[in-house]
């Protein structure tokens, strides 16, 4: 047991760093994923991750493999797309999903065009696949800072965000905080996608946001419980994925996301909100 679960982390610093990165990601990105899920915006996370890619690519092409340039590029591109989509959705007859799709497709196309103009050096793709096994001090600090910021911001925005999730019309009626909650949340989504792409790559980052959130939604009915269980599931998936990568010789990023996927499928089957779960947990007073 000890050999299997603990020894890899004791022997190798890169495993400890990967675990620390997964912990930070679980604490920051997963609650954001849960709010995305509750606002029926799960697929928007995926679209946003594509919108970030060209910005990060531009940063890479201009300054090389610089953490700062790629991060700032990604954040700027993501925020521009999120803001533009949000503005269009609030000011025109297009719904948010349509305007977001339009902007992220434009951003993606522009990015691909720019990358191909600058030659064919493909390290970029390897970099964008994430490097949870090669986290240096700067990347870890960046991810941890984004998580800290996310937790503080969520604490501040918690009430308006919850209202926005369940009754956006009511929030707009009683408070002027609605746009603050909305745009603040979008910025948090972008920040956490950027920290996710440093660890898992742009393709996988959304996985650790949405899968644990979806699994937790099936188990819990109250929001605080849901947040706590989604974080625990994300963290367990991170550790399980890393151990799988260590013992079964498979790439770490996909292993982590697949572990979260397995947690989701099991929850889908067993949890109270799932497929056969309701029969398992039926209480006497609900029988009729």
């Amino acid at each position: 047991m000890f050999e299997f679960f603990v020894a890899p982390f004791l022997e190798f610093e890169f495993m400890r760093r990967a675990l620390a990165g997964s912990l930070a990601l679980a604490l920051g990105a997963t609650p954001i994923g849960l709010f995305l899920l509750l606002r029926r915006m799960s697929l928007m996370g995926d679209a946003m991750s594509h919108a970030i890619l060209p910005g990060a690519a531009l940063g890479y092409l201009a300054f090389g493999l610089s953490l700062g340039a790629m991060t700032i590029g990604g954040i700027v591109a993501g925020i521009i797309v999120a803001m533009a989509a949000g503005l269009v959705a609030r000011a025109s007859i297009l719904k948010e999903d349509a305007s977001l799709a339009a902007f992220y497709l434009m951003s993606l196309a522009a990015g691909v065009l720019i990358v191909s103009l600058r030659g064919r050096n493909l390290d970029l793709l390897h970099v964008l696949f994430g490097s949870v096994l090669a986290l240096d001090d700067a990347s870890l600090l960046l991810i941890a800072s984004i998580t800290t910021l996310t937790l503080f911001a969520l604490a501040l925005l918690y009430r308006p965000l919850v209202l926005e999730c369940f009754d956006p019309g009511f929030l707009r009626g009683v408070s002027r905080l609605s746009p603050v909650a909305h745009y603040g949340f979008l910025i948090l989504v972008v920040l956490n996608l950027v920290s996710g792409f440093h660890t898992l790559g742009t393709l996988m980052a959304v996985g650790i946001m949405i899968l644990p959130a979806a699994a937790a939604r099936l188990w819990a009915t109250r929001l605080p419980t849901m947040i706590a269980s989604s974080v625990i599931i994300a963290l367990a998936s991170g550790a399980a994925g890393l151990l799988t990568s260590f013992h079964a010789d498979v790439p770490a990023g996909p292993a982590i996301v697949l572990a979260a996927g397995i947690a989701y499928v099991l929850s889908l089957i067993l949890a109270p909100g799932g497929l056969i779960g309701p029969r398992l947990y039926r209480r006497p007073h609900l029988e009729y």
């Binding site: 493999l65 030659g119 064919r120 390897h126 490097s131 096994l133 986290l135 240096d136 010789d249 498979v250």
Partner: protein
């Protein structure tokens, strides 16, 4: 009319230009040769000299592993008199691309006749499912003796396409062969000064199988040969353990790999990061490896710098 002198001047200038061009066009326009990547293009340039005009599809400092053809590549291939490829699975795309671009001639495989090594890029033997004969390792140019064969194959192809130039090609080939033989001897004699326990080359991408085999270095690699897969935690852990066990003083980053990963491995394995080794691309004209010979010299210098002068690190252990 004062137009006439003007026109005469233009006519005279044109005539002068034509006469200046005449000897060359009578001599034959340069042979259009297309090579799949920069190292091959350099060898063609050495053998062909002024009689050929060489284009490299994958340019200097570009990664051959993720190559995607562009329409301009097809246009270049269509105009080509001779197409030179490395073979051994390194640039298999060129055949399809050349055919679809309408190139009807032969495609010259420069590595014809060399002794190919098997791809050592997979760590399979560590857990028992080793293949008897995997795909071949294409990086044959890392052994200078192989490049002497490359040059011979290329000279043959050039004189088939341009028989008039045969004496010229043979003369240039003979001169280049002497230079290559000298380079081979230089690498051997320089590396022979290394003590046996330091003859270990750790790189991020195992393109140096031929180099290691030819010049007696043990090559240890971090990731697979074609970037086919992302490295796993198991693979990285294995390499770190190996570095600790073998007591290797230096690891080498190539011009194409994630430097953060190699840095991590070096820190945990207790080795420092050496200078860049060039594997499958020359540098630009301003870099330290604008030609094949200079590339091999730059690699040799980097290896000697890393493995040759390490008494401090060794006494520290």
């Amino acid at each position: 009319m004062n137009m006439t002198p003007h026109l005469t001047r233009i006519r005279r200038a044109l005539l002068a230009l034509l006469t200046a061009l005449l000897p060359i066009s009578a001599h034959a326009a340069p042979l259009q040769v297309v090579a799949s990547f920069s190292i091959l293009a350099d060898i063609v340039r050495e053998v062909g000299g002024e009689r050929v005009e060489v284009t490299s599809i994958i340019g200097a400092d570009e990664d051959a592993h993720g190559f995607q053809p562009r329409p301009s590549d097809a246009r270049v291939l269509q105009r080509a008199d001779v197409v030179v490829a490395n073979g051994l699975g390194f640039d298999a795309w060129i055949e399809r691309l050349a055919r679809s671009a309408g190139h009807a001639g032969e495609i010259v495989i420069a590595s014809d006749g060399i002794e190919a090594l098997e791809d050592s890029g997979h760590h399979g033997h560590h857990h028992g499912h080793e293949h008897d004969h995997g795909p071949l390792d294409p990086h044959a140019w890392q052994n200078v003796s192989n490049v002497r064969i490359y040059a011979r194959n290329i000279a043959e192809a050039l004189q088939t396409a341009d028989p008039d130039g045969a004496p010229d090609y043979q003369a240039r080939l003979a001169r280049y062969d002497v230079a290559l033989a000298a380079l081979d001897a230089e690498i051997r004699s320089t590396l022979s000064t290394l003590p046996a326990n330091r003859r270990k080359l750790v790189t991020s991408h195992d393109a140096f199988g031929y180099f290691g085999q030819a010049y007696g270095l043990k090559v240890i690699a971090a990731a697979g040969i074609s970037y086919e897969s992302e490295p796993s935690a198991a693979g990285i852990a294995r390499l770190i353990r190996q570095l600790r066990r073998e007591n290797v003083p230096v690891v080498f980053v190539e011009n194409i790999a994630d430097p953060r990963l190699i840095d991590r491995i070096a820190r945990e394995g207790g080795a420092r990061v050496g200078a860049t080794l060039h594997s499958d691309a020359l540098s630009g004209p301003d870099g330290d490896a604008p030609t094949y010979i200079e590339m091999m010299r730059a690699n040799l210098a980097a290896i000697m710098d890393g493995l040759g002068s390490m008494p401090a690190a060794e006494s520290a252990r």
